[in-house]
Subunit: 138 residues, 2 copies
DNA sequence: CTCCTTATTGCAGCAGACTGCAATAAGAGG
DNA sequence: CCTCTTATTGCAGTCTGCTGCAATAAGGAG
């Protein structure tokens, strides 16, 4: 929890709810929805609601501790940001979600930084398209 | 409108509403919201509603005629897909939106295709991060 | 041109994500 | 340990985007 201690400098507070959301994300692993997190936290916080969970997720995202991604399932998914980073390829035909290494995205970030001075935060991308199997048929 | 004639093969219909949405996107140019499109079409279709507009936009997106992008303003923006393609860098600090050429993204698509056989549809990306001015201060 | 099939629209309703406000509690200071 | 400030929560309400269903109209056949 050392990453979290830094935030207290700016007057931000490390509440039980925030700790619990992060812990739930670690426990569940992978892609989790706000609704799922809310349900998981109901044991400890019977009165918690999605509004609070979404606010906490935005806050965690702002601190690069959590990523928020549209992987094409109609609901945003959240995942703990941890090294090594990974991204996803989503097939528009068979709806498969394929993991892809960060090394494919790193050159992009480097180029944007070198040429334009833009510090890209590419934490957890989803690239849509057609997977090898489906591209063949099309 | 020759791109549109192709769709009729599959039994899909080229309605006045669909034509009007495409035309409105061409007329307005740049990033447009579904609400703005709906308002623009009210002159010709007094009873049109956002449900229909969103459905048409999904259909156009499916045919790669329109892109749908989250550029961080809380509402999705739609834009006519036309060559040469472009993308955007969005600053998380000053909220500026910078245009960026497709050549930065083309190597990514090529690598995904060559290594993984994945045919990426990178039509109109938004990359979040910190612009040159804001990255300096941080 | 008219008829027929069925894809699409209009409408109403719903789910996901966000926000204002009063009540609560983190945590700094004494 | 107690007090005080104010950031955060819980709650209710709002907005964006999507969906089911009956009515409408595109466009192929005759
Ligand atoms: Mn992931
Ligand atoms: Mn654009
Ligand atoms: Zn596929
Ligand atoms: Zn900036």
């Amino acid at each position: 929890m050392s990453e979290l201690d830094q935030v207290r400098q700016a007057g931000e507070r490390l509440t039980r709810q925030r700790r619990a959301v992060l812990q739930a994300l670690d426990t569940q692993g992978g892609h989790v929805t706000a609704e799922q997190l809310c349900d998981a936290l109901r044991g400890e916080f019977p009165h918690i609601n999605t509004g609070t969970v979404y606010r906490i997720l935005q806050w965690l995202k702002g601190h690069s501790l959590v990523s928020e991604t549209d992987v094409g399932i109609g609901v945003k998914v959240y995942e703990r940001v941890c090294n090594p980073r990974h991204h996803h390829l989503v097939c528009l035909n068979c709806h498969r979600t394929i993991d892809v290494d960060d090394r494919y995205f790193h050159p992009l970030a480097t180029a944007l930084k070198q040429d334009l001075g833009f510090q890209a935060r590419i934490e957890h991308f989803a690239v849509f398209g057609y997977c090898a199997d489906c591209a063949r048929g099309k």
